[in-house]
Symmetry: C2
Subunit: 440 residues, 2 copies
């Protein structure tokens, strides 16, 4: 069936619903360049105003998934073996993938993770992995599938053949002011997850000053749509709404976050409990979705044991052997050449951290990108000595800046100090918990 | 000053106002292809939802005018001589330009008319003129200017160098569902009129079943915006809101409408009074704007005299000499080879005519275009023997179809009959007058 594209755009402009066939026609046409970029841009803007129903969103997502190749875990499926991934909507210092993957591998749960790069104020898992000398993030689909089948866990960047519609559409939305649209965000996230041939997905939907969704309500709206879209397409989904009102963990930055993850996996003294807690909780939900535990408490215990026993650490080392350069990882190779400690400008309680601003300070430092073609300083990062809820004395260490060069340190120090609110009084309002809500 | 285009789009999406510099940057960038089509399309869709203020609309219009060359009547201006045009928003059987131009020329009012082609259900003046053997509608700006200076009246198609931004933007809007937007419609109409270097403009803003604006209120909204946009840019504007609930006059079709105009100009028995009445009224407002009469009544008398004295007819004949092939116009050369009379299917009062449907029936007959590249049958058309407000007996002639071939006659007859509502009772509601409102 052929539809008139201009009429489809007009219909969405008038708030009318599309049929599944219309949405498929639109996405297929756009992928094949039969639908012009300018028509897709006009349609996207109409969607920004009039939205998509949950049905339309599910159809859009499926059409985007089907715009390219999908992974095929037919062998695992035939054996009744679950395939679980975790996806985060992005934050500052958010590094849980590098802990959850090994935990799940230790629990013998197949975990195919297709990860992305940092853009804007949030970090990306691929950049973190590339700070490990020799680590390969670009695998063939065949190698990736084999890794997941054989070693349970593999992680790679998106290939050209997976969800080409999403890649093309995202690039268009980025330059046409149409990124901020729940159904389009949902389509972008879930099409790639559906292409992984999963049986279950744990979503870490961030809210707060460092997240795209500033409030719990907004995050819940997105989480609900992501979940219904997954479920409409046959995927079990749990969603956790988690706190990004401050950076997650001890470090933000590519190599620094890898160091933090290795500390946690090795079971050493954990300096930032939140990274560990959140990783355990997300892992527990993955274990539940894999039907490996009768309830959340048992699932949590299983994740804890994977960490405490060293099994997760061994899984991580194994990952380095089949995706790395075959050499023992020398942690010193992850450390930056230059550093600079920023002292607290005043005494008092830390009552808030503008985490988006911290994210943009990290970009200035070279951790992230302003545009997709920018290169990053893999060694750059910030250590947080004190975070929201703690007290500090003037002159005590507040941040440590790290990097391959020093010129940006002064500007970044100023940005970071501005992002922290130090008050004589503790909170008026109690801060929101690390995990505000769980949708199962 | 350079602006970030994506941010401009986002601002309009959020309903924020643009500055004049931002709008100029957008239009100049689009004309020079620095702003991508997809960005302009997204912006246009945001405008469809959030609108533009009257200031923004005036700036948009001026920027579009300035995207190319404009006419220059400096010599006339220096002599304090007014330049007046009339513009109609389009309808079925709307042919007043061919009467008003000669009337104004007879009154020695300089009248530069840049006209367009028919598209969709409405006709276009250029197509009508091209039905006259040898008539040239494509003149150089120099010849056009000289004609207007010397002979008072000239009429031509838009040149490549006038308002290139409008041509490019209209083509984009046409395929992105963004045609229906008052400020964008206003920018398109008024940029071309501002490029004519006029001192005054009479607007014929149509309402009713055959117009783009279905109600008087909608037409008034557009007329008000057109007027304020002209006035913001130094142009005096009168706007008449006129009735398109039925076709205007005796004929619709290219050559047939030329025949009707010649009948009126020659002062013969006028079969359709509405074409003549509207032409007089629009001419009277042009005469007022040219300061050639103290009030509307005197202006109307002057227009009447131009017709009654034969001066307008002589001006039309003169037009044929300087834009035609130098030969006497033989009216027989305008008549179609085939014709077919449609009889009234029932007796009663004609209470309504779906004039848009009549327009589309005319397109089927070959009078108009479905898309800009279609060719037209210049001889095709319809004669209306009875219109809204009259009574008819079953079997009496209702329409006469004309054309260079007959195959479409049957389908078109059916469409035309369906478009006429014949009732036992006269109107429940009194029909709206030919001229519902005048904005001066």
């Amino acid at each position: 069936v052929a539809f008139n594209i201009t009429q489809l755009i007009k219909n969405k402009r008038l708030g009318r619903a599309h049929s599944q066939a219309e949405i498929k026609f639109l996405i297929d046409g756009f992928t094949a360049s039969r639908v012009a970029d300018y028509q897709m841009a006009a349609w996207a803007m109409a969607v920004c105003f009039n939205g998509l129903s949950s049905d339309e969103t599910a159809w859009l997502t499926a059409a985007m998934r089907d715009s390219g190749r999908t992974l095929n875990f037919g062998r695992l499926k035939n054996q009744g073996r679950p395939r679980i991934d975790k996806h985060s909507t992005g934050g500052v210092g958010d590094k849980t993938s590098l802990i959850i993957g090994p935990i799940l591998a230790a629990c013998e749960i197949h975990t195919p993770m297709i990860a992305g790069r940092g853009l804007g104020h949030t970090g990306g898992t691929l950049d973190k992995l590339e700070s490990i000398p020799g680590f390969r993030v670009f695998l063939s689909e065949e190698e990736f599938t084999q890794n997941v089948e054989k070693h349970f866990f593999s992680i790679m960047g998106q290939t050209e053949s997976i969800c080409p519609a999403d890649r093309k559409f995202y690039a268009l939305r980025d330059v046409t002011g149409t990124v901020d649209s729940l159904p389009l965000i949902c389509g972008s996230i879930m099409s790639k997850k559906l292409a992984e041939d999963l049986s279950g997905l744990v979503l870490d939907v961030k809210f707060g000053s460092g997240a795209f969704m500033k409030t719990v309500d907004e995050a819940q709206e997105l989480a609900t749509l992501l979940k219904s879209t997954g479920e409409s397409n046959g995927l079990r989904v749990h969603a956790l709404l988690t706190n990004m009102d401050q950076p997650l963990g001890r470090f933000a930055g590519n190599a620094p976050e890898v160091i933090e993850c290795i500390d946690i996996l090795r079971g050493g003294t954990v300096i930032a409990q939140d990274t560990r807690d959140l990783s355990i909780e997300l892992s527990a939900h993955a274990i539940l979705l894999a039907d490996r535990a009768p309830d959340l408490s048992a699932a949590r215990d299983m994740a804890e044991r994977a960490l405490a026993s060293g099994a997760a650490w061994r899984a991580f080392q194994k990952l380095l052997s089949y995706q790395g350069n075959g050499q023992e990882l020398n942690l010193d190779s992850l450390r930056a050449q230059f550093e600079h400690v920023v002292l607290a400008p005043a005494s008092g309680h830390i009552v808030a951290m503008n985490t988006e601003q911290i994210g943009y300070a990290l970009v200035e430092l070279g951790v992230g990108r302003k545009k997709a073609s920018d290169s990053v300083d893999l060694f750059a990062g910030v250590e947080f000595f004190a975070k929201t809820g703690s007290s500090i004395e003037k002159g005590q260490p507040l941040f440590r800046l790290m990097g391959s060069s020093q010129p940006a340190f002064e500007d970044v120090s100023r940005l970071l100090c501005q992002s922290v609110q130090i008050s004589n009084q503790a909170f008026g309002q109690k801060p929101l918990p690390l995990i505000a809500k769980v949708l199962t």
